[in-house]
Subunit: 285 residues, 2 copies
């Protein structure tokens, strides 16, 4: 409940003209890194909250939507994902979900700002519980440079788990970067890009899709899911496949998945493939 | 863009500890009715905004999610909906969607506060474009009283398009009211109740489902959809059927629907029936 010891962290989002926020009891930490300003808050109803440059990034209570939907649909679409790379993803929540898949032999997280991960280890330890899995490797370097130097046809799934297309993540949203991802993927490889709000950021989402096509990806599929702590409360990920389609996935394996989830399941995977009318029109069919 | 002529309407929601808002250029109107305080704002990105007692009710840009999902899934689940009643719904957006169905012979909107409708006619004329359809009847009386006196087995679909379960709408969320709805429905009749945020209001949603079961409805189905202007940005409607199931619907009719929508279509109807893992657990299976 609100009282004299609480205040509101309201993120007023210029691009969309909409705001979101959580009621906060305390700012636990704030620091300026070489890349951005990171803050940690304690909230009344949403657990811990991490913000970067004033934008809500992850909360204890609602991060499961994003992390599950950025990982499981792509990993269950690929026939046998062994080598996975996460660009960004410093809170380690996507890494944790990726490592739930037994087929995965290596998962490399390439986060430019080590402080994001160190603060996640301190304030979101549950997201970091797989950081010491022997299949995990955490690198704190520039993901654009890493991808440009990656061995051709060495990866099965690339997950671009980045901040918005402004600031340090800007270079992750264009055809030149996607072309390096395409080269690093095996022929049946899949990239997943967090692609903003389907309603509030539709022009950005369309730009991302066009850039992936320009880079040479053969098929595209944007999936939508709730995400209360991001602008409009509704978010998307866009999958693109080097060669082949993205509609079919390993349904029997999803139905028998050997780990618990909070949002994702067989019906939700099918549901996420449904395209609202206005998106069908925006994407041309 | 933000400038000295804009300000933020931030709705800080006590129950959920979360806030939402839109950037506003001007308050166009405010009045205190016998029931509540209604205000109208102009926004930079979301068109007009109506608030009731400080809560965002409807915006020009994003009302389509709610109005389409509160009407079409139920009307396409019923084999031949002829007689429809909307309790609340004073902005007339649900009425407009209901009247898109050719089978509907009468649609009665029972809104307690006539000023909601008069202000909608002025500021949201597109939502009111079917108010003069000869099949439409607009009553400005107490919906609880109307339903208690309704002719038994005279209705096919009842849509409870109400504000939150506090204030004038409180009496619409309990088994006693639902029992009057059950009596007024024909045996294959369906009620749809707006049932709050599946994540942020899960205890309220569970209460609604339990009350519908207590009232005697045979089957239940909660559908989820985005709604940026409501707390958490993710909302639900709960359908309940007097006798029979709610999983099957008139798929061929949806695929050939003779009217345009912005969100709803065949795939979205199927998708809305998918239950996230945490809801399956909360609902017991």
């Amino acid at each position: 409940m609100s009282n004299e010891h609480t205040f509101w962290f309201n993120e007023e989002h210029d691009y969309s003209g909409s705001s979101i926020g959580f009621r906060v009891t305390k700012k636990l930490h704030e620091e300026k890194t070489p890349f951005q300003t990171i803050a940690i808050y304690d909230t009344t109803d949403w657990g811990k909250l991490m913000t970067i440059d004033g934008c809500m990034m992850v909360s204890t209570r609602d991060n499961f939507f994003y992390h599950e939907m950025m990982s499981h649909p792509a990993l269950y679409t690929h026939a046998n994902p062994k080598n996975v790379v996460i660009i960004g993803g410093g809170d380690c929540g996507t890494l944790r979900e990726v490592l739930r898949h037994k087929s995965v032999e290596s998962a490399i997280q390439v986060e430019i700002d080590e402080r994001v991960t160190r603060l996640a280890e301190q304030y979101f330890p549950e997201l970091c519980e797989s950081n010491h899995d022997p299949r995990a490797q955490l690198l704190f370097i520039d993901g654009i440079k890493w991808m440009a130097e990656a061995k051709p046809e060495s990866l099965d799934v690339i997950i671009i788990d980045s901040t918005d297309p402004v600031g340090p993540a800007e270079g992750l949203f264009n055809a030149a970067f996607y072309a390096t991802c395409l080269k690093a993927l095996r022929p049946d490889g899949i990239i997943v890009q967090q692609s903003e709000s389907p309603l509030a950021h539709l022009p950005l989402l369309t730009d991302i899709r066009n850039a992936l096509t320009t880079a040479g990806f053969e098929s595209l599929k944007t999936i939508c899911f709730p995400q209360p702590c991001y602008p409009s409360g509704w978010w998307s990920g866009t999958m693109a496949r080097k060669r082949g389609k993205l509609d079919a996935f390993r349904e029997a394996d999803v139905a028998a998945k050997p780990f618990a989830t909070q949002y994702y399941n067989l019906d939700i995977h099918k549901a996420a493939l449904a395209q609202p009318e206005f998106l069908k029109r925006a994407f041309g069919g």
